[in-house]
Each structure stands twice: as structure tokens, then as C-alpha cells.
Symmetry: C2
Subunit: 437 residues, 2 copies
């Protein structure tokens, strides 16, 4: 039987992980696929770097050696980012090559056009590795949940921010210290922006929600907040009320038919399963109308989990090539013409209980004034704690309020008024409480 | 495009659940599959019963109306048990029809011959619903983990026994009371034997291990113990040491190359994720050499989760029919000729720490004698508690010992000797402690 011939674009840690798996598991992969997988070309960016698992004669620095090779069946893209990776993927699909990619940024921002191009050219575009590395959540959404309607996807999908929050929690350190520790341990990149500001999680949630709801969704539809403003005090106060703080990604189909799409830090009960997802682990709840909640958890990033998902996609795409059944599974769960139109709920309409923290100078009446502003906006107080002053009389004290469920827009308005009160010395902090986690 | 025509054998709650899904999700299933699924015939056992979702003109009581209909592409078997279900499945495959089944008993005991028959006739035999109802563990093992080697599968795979143990734990009731409660709540059948004696979990583990290791395994290879002897006292004592008791199914590839296959109650740490799997939930850890541990959890039984998995298989099998790509994925992860031979470790060689409970009459020296027998077999004591007597002086007291890791055969020999000591009034209880859970 003929080999499945691939070209690899990108030869960083994930690319080398893929080459390692293809070499070390060659026999078992051939038994399971029914044909060998042959690496025809590996395209790297920088000349002269030391790389493992790459046969020198296969190495190239020109993507056209892959894109222009008519013998290559499948292009594997592990460069990342929008450009030039997007151009390469587009060219490959235009030329009828199937593509396996780990590029969540590209798929979240430009995926819809790429999926349509793939359909048009009868090519496959597979992307398990783009969301939660080694967790087969794409496969489960595309294939296993085919007979149920998904009502919610909810989880921890960014390992870097979860690592930072886990360290803040276990060591009672502040955000900056934990970020530095994450960078030192290799869990955060030199530029961690997209990981800590929620952008990466938003990309992943966009892809998951697109599949879950068979709808044309974009990152701009997602309400996004990062973890940069979480402090050691918030961690400690959350714990005192029985919660931990996690960066949650949530996509829900609301009873009214709209979608609720959010990425933000949230207080989740200490006893919940999501609270027990520590460090670089990821976890995703899929909730089906019939099935109820089910959970997938495991390592969401790292070279080998990501490489593993790429290779499992390669086997799938290879099976489609050998059986001449490309396009066997609709890329977005339904074919392009049949995507549903789903309205997205504006952020201000979201209702949830809130954790609020105010740094106040210890003046008479400040607390009464806070309570009165909250009351004026119909925000009911569920619990309240005023910390004893830790330092001298010039230091602010922290007042923490847990609210009953409140609309976002009302809460934001109230916080703006409270911020202008005399005695409030920092912008108030507001973190949603997610009891359904 | 042509319809996928199915015949349904079995019209109990799962069968009716399948018909319900096929009716309620007809539009979305057709969009995703690319063809409608048409139910041609439903075969029930008992005439005159009330059934939902069955069009009366489709109902039959003769399996030959399905097996003998050349128009039917796929036979769905949800009768259960070895006979006659096994005969029907065999006949369907012999006639080149693909089969979707939820029958773990049949697959565990006679699966290998059926898989080989399916391969020979170019038919598909799909069985997601046979293991852990709504959890897509078969799909993940067959397809997602294709690029890794599985080193362990471990989990809670029987919802009935987990429900019973959960109630024993939360309400401090004895096994018999919890079993009756489970039956009343519909979580245990009138004859719960296979659920509580570990047989059902052993069937599931056999199927999982067959896929995980690409080996020809049978239920008789699995060391099996049930939960019938667990008492409220064991639950309470386990908790005192920081554990809960769960029925665990474990399949491990040992460093020496042998497989370790076991189903038995075990003490797992209260803080572990498996300890948080309550009631009818199931959870399976899959541990890959490259991927590390990943967890799948959700409802493992019940009409709708099981029906959902059957229908997702139907869509897969339907895609294979439409694309003429039957046999696309090897049923046991590798084709028949390439199954590995794996030796199974004899039960006596297994090493683990143990929880031991002895009911002793409060005579001088009994405890010293127990300790001395354990010592004679090189069984080291890690912790020991003697309960204060609860009732009158004629009642036995419970002595609980946690051992260091011990070989099973040495432990069994020691227990036989201890049982013969005067003052030991009940057979000693021994439960493994699983710290890796």
C-alpha cells in the first residue's frame, strides 16, 4: 500500500516532537493506519540551529519545497501565528493538500474561510492539537457528541495561567512573582501576553463553541478578561469563603436561544472538580442535553501532548486519503451551508454572583456608602468581610463583598460610582463567582 | 444521497432511547452524516408491551425480519447477554451487515471471534456504548491515542456499585441497605449480581485492555473481586485513615512486559479525583507513555447516555458505508494478524499496601499473635488501630492494620493462618490500597 507523504512546516519543540513520535512509533502507526507515514520535507525558519529527530537531507528553509511538492499529501503546520502560517495553510488547501495544524490563533481568527476552502477543494483540515494539546476534545465534539445537542462547554483551557494561579494559591504569592516562577519553570513564554490576558483561552473557546453549536463564531464574540489583576489578597479572601480562583472559559446555549461566551477569572468552589485541576493541566466539561455533564482532563500543552494530537490527526487524515474519503466528517460539525446563526448575549446582560474587593481608608461611613451604592443598583449583599488592618494607620483595609446574582452592567455602573467615593484608594476589583463549575 | 437503513434488535429502555434520539435529532444527524438514518424494523421480545417512539408498523418479534432483510445496512443490537444476542450479531456479520452493539458481556467473552468475522466480511463492529455509556473511551483508545503507547487504564466503570459505595459512605449504612436503596432508585437491577461481584467491570476492563494493549485478552485473565463484603465499618475506618473505598478496574503494562489486570474494591485517597466520582458517574484514567495521565468522566450508564453512544457509532458506521470505507479503523486498534501476545501477571504476584480488618474477641495476646504471623510472612505494619468496644463484652472488637506494600500470595497465606487463631471470630477482611489512583 502507498505511503502517506507529509511535509512539516515548523521545526520547534512541537515539530521535533512529531518527528520523534513518527520515528519511535513507526511500526505501530503503520499497523494501525495500514500504510507508513513518510516525512518528505521539514521546513525550519532559522538555519544552523541544532535540531533532534530531523534527517539533515530532509531539512529545508523554503516552504515552497513542501507546498510545491505534488507528491506531498498532507501539510503539517506547527509554526503558529497568523502570518506567514495562514498563507501557507491557504496555499496548501488551494492545491488540494490536506492540512493538520496546531494553530489556534489562525483557526479562531480565520478558520471559517479556511474550512470553506478545504470543503471546496475536497481537502481535510484537522486541528485536534490546536485546543488543549493532548485532550481529544475536538474529536469528541466532532464525532462522539454527534447525537446530542451541546448546551455548555466550560473549562480550564490555558495551562500557563492555571500554573500561575495554582502557584499563587499554594504559595500565597502575588501575580508578578508567580509569573516569573512560571517563566523560569518553562510554563510561560518570554512574552506571556496572550496566555495571561485571556486571549489564548478565547481562541480555544471560539473553536470549541464553533463546533459545539455548529455556528460561525469569532474571538470578538467572546467577553474576555485576563488574570493580571488577581492578587494574593484575592486568593486568600476567596479561600476564606470556600473558593479558589481559576481562569474559566465558558460557552453556554441560553434558554432564550442566545449564546453566552466568556473567558475570565472566576471563583469556583474548593470542592469542585475544576478546583482540583492544578498546574499545567487542562479540563473541559462538555454538557449535553441528553448526556449531562462529562469531563475531559489532561495535559493541555507541551511538546509531546501536542505532537501526539497532531499525529493522531495525521492517522485520521491518512485513513481518509487511503480510503478516498476526504471530507468524511464536516470540519465544523456541520457543512458550511448549514451553519446555524446564533446571537451572542452582550456582556452587560450576563447575570452572576460577584466577589468584590474595595481598598478603603478607614474612614467612618465608607462601608455604609459602598452598601448604599450597591443597594441603589439593586445589588444584594450575600456576605461581607472587613479585614483587620495589617500595617500602619495609613494603609488601606480591604472590604470584601460577595453579592447575590447581579447583572454585569448594573455591577459595572455601581463600581464606577463607588470608585469616586472619598476613602476608596484603588479601583474596586470584581471577580465572577461560578457555582455551576 | 441514499439513507442508512438500520434494524434494531431490542426495544427496552436503551432501544427506545435510540429511537427517541433518531427522531428528535433527525435533522441535525442528517446534516452531520450527509444522509438520513432510516429505521426499517424494530424487533422486540415480548408482544403487547407499551413502548414509546416505536411506529407500530415497524415492530416485529422475529429477528429474521432484520437479519434477513437485504436492504438493512446496519444491525443495532441492544438485547444484551450472550444468547441469543451473540447468534444475531454473528449472523448479521456473516451476511456482511455492520453491527453497532452495547453488549459488553458478548464482546468481552466472544469479541475476538466476532471482530475477526467482521474483518473477514468487510463489516464494521462498533461498540462505544458497551463501555461506560456516554463516555467516549472506546473512540479515544481506538483513534485519539493512536500515536502513544498506553501504559495504564484505571477507573470506576460500574455505576451501580459506585452508587452503592457512595451511599454507604455518605450515609454510613451497610452494604445490604445501600443495595436495597440502589434498587429502589433504579440504579440496581432486581438481580444485581454482575454489578456487585465485579463481573460487569471485568467485562468492560477486558474490552478496554484489549484496545489499550492491542492484545487478545479475556475476562478470565482479570483478577476479580466484588463489593459484597464491604461493610459500614470498613468505610468508617478507611475514612479515618484518609481514604474512601471504590470499586476500581485497573489494567497496567508492567515494566517487565506483563500485564496487570484487576477489578476489586480499593482504598483511594480522599483527595484524589477518583474519590470525587460519586453515585452513578464513571471515570477512566488513560495513561500514555508520552501524554501522561488523562481523565474521561461522565454518566456511564442509563438509557440516554448509552443511546447517545450507539447513535454516534451509527453515524460513524454510516459514514463508512457512504464513503465505502468499512473497516477504516481496526476494531481492536490493530488488525487481527498483528495483535500482540501479552502475558498476564498471576494474581499472587501483585504487590500493594493493604487494609486489613480483624474481628477479635478481646483476649490477651490476640493482637500480638496477629502481628507475629504478619511478621513471619514479612508483612510490615504501617499503621494499626484497635477500636474501643462498642457493645457488650461478648461483642468482638475490630483491629485494623494498614500494611506496607506486600505480595498478594504472602498476604493470603498470612490471613489463612490468622483466621485459625483463637479469638478471631470472622474471616479477616483485606482491601488493597491504591495510592496511584
Amino acid at each position: 500500500m502507498r505511503a502517506i507523504r507529509i511535509g512539516l512546516l515548523g521545526c520547534g519543540v512541537v515539530g521535533q516532537g512529531i518527528l520523534r513520535l513518527l520515528r519511535e512509533h513507526a511500526g505501530s502507526l503503520e499497523r494501525r493506519l495500514g500504510a507508513p507515514i513518510e516525512v518528505r520535507r521539514v521546513v525550519a525558519k532559522t538555519e544552523g540551529k541544532a535540531r533532534s529527530y530531523v534527517a539533515p537531507e530532509l531539512l529545508s528553509y523554503d516552504p515552497e519545497t513542501v507546498l510545491g511538492d505534488p507528491e506531498i499529501d498532507v501539510v503539517v503546520e506547527v509554526i503558529g501565528g497568523l502570518d506567514p502560517a495562514g498563507r501557507y495553510v491557504r496555499t496548501a488547501l488551494e492545491r488540494g493538500k490536506s492540512v493538520v495544524t496546531a494553530n489556534k490563533f489562525l483557526l479562531a481568527e480565520e478558520g471559517h474561510a479556511l474550512f470553506e476552502l478545504a470543503e471546496e477543494r475536497g481537502a481535510d483540515l484537522y486541528f485536534e492539537a490546536a485546543v488543549c494539546g493532548g485532550i481529544p476534545v475536538i474529536r469528541v465534539l466532532r464525532e462522539a457528541l454527534v447525537a446530542d445537542s451541546v448546551v455548555a462547554v466550560r473549562g480550564i483551557v490555558n495551562g500557563t495561567s492555571n500554573y500561575i494561579l495554582s502557584r499563587m494559591q499554594s504559595e500565597q504569592i502575588d501575580y508578578g512573582v508567580a509569573l516569573a516562577a512560571a517563566q523560569e519553570a518553562g510554563y510561560a513564554e518570554a512574552d506571556p501576553t496572550l496566555d495571561v490576558n485571556g486571549g489564548d483561552a478565547t481562541h480555544k473557546l471560539t473553536i470549541l463553541a464553533t463546533l459545539a453549536f455548529g455556528a460561525k463564531l469569532l474571538p470578538s464574540h467572546v467577553t474576555t478578561e485576563g488574570i493580571e489583576h488577581i492578587t494574593a489578597i484575592d486568593m486568600k479572601m476567596a479561600e476564606r469563603f470556600g473558593y479558589v480562583i481559576k481562569l474559566l472559559a465558558t460557552a453556554r446555549s441560553l434558554p432564550v436561544g442566545m449564546l453566552d461566551l466568556r473567558v475570565h477569572p472566576a471563583l469556583v468552589p474548593k470542592t469542585s472538580v475544576l478546583a482540583s485541576i492544578h498546574g499545567a493541566l487542562n479540563a473541559v466539561y462538555l454538557e449535553g442535553a441528553m448526556l449531562g455533564p462529562s469531563l475531559l482532563s489532561g495535559y493541555g500543552a507541551g511538546a509531546m501532548p501536542t505532537a501526539m494530537s497532531v499525529v493522531s490527526d495525521l492517522v485520521d487524515v491518512g485513513r481518509n486519503i487511503l480510503r478516498d474519503s476526504r471530507g468524511r466528517v464536516p470540519q465544523r460539525t456541520v457543512p458550511s451551508g448549514m451553519l446555524l446563526r446564533r446571537e451572542v448575549q452582550p456582556a452587560g446582560m450576563h447575570v452572576s454572583p460577584y466577589y468584590l474587593r474595595f481598598a478603603v481608608m478607614d474612614r467612618p461611613n465608607v462601608i455604609a456608602k459602598i452598601a448604599s451604592v450597591l443597594g441603589a443598583f439593586d445589588i444584594a449583599i450575600h456576605q461581607m468581610i472587613q479585614e483587620a488592618r495589617a500595617s500602619g494607620p495609613k494603609a488601606p483595609v480591604h472590604v470584601v463583598v460577595l453579592t447575590h446574582p447581579t447583572r454585569d452592567d448594573a455591577l459595572r455602573s455601581a463600581l464606577r460610582e463607588i470608585q469616586m467615593l472619598s476613602g476608596i484608594v484603588e479601583p474596586p476589583r470584581a471577580i465572577r463567582i461560578e457555582t455551576a463549575a
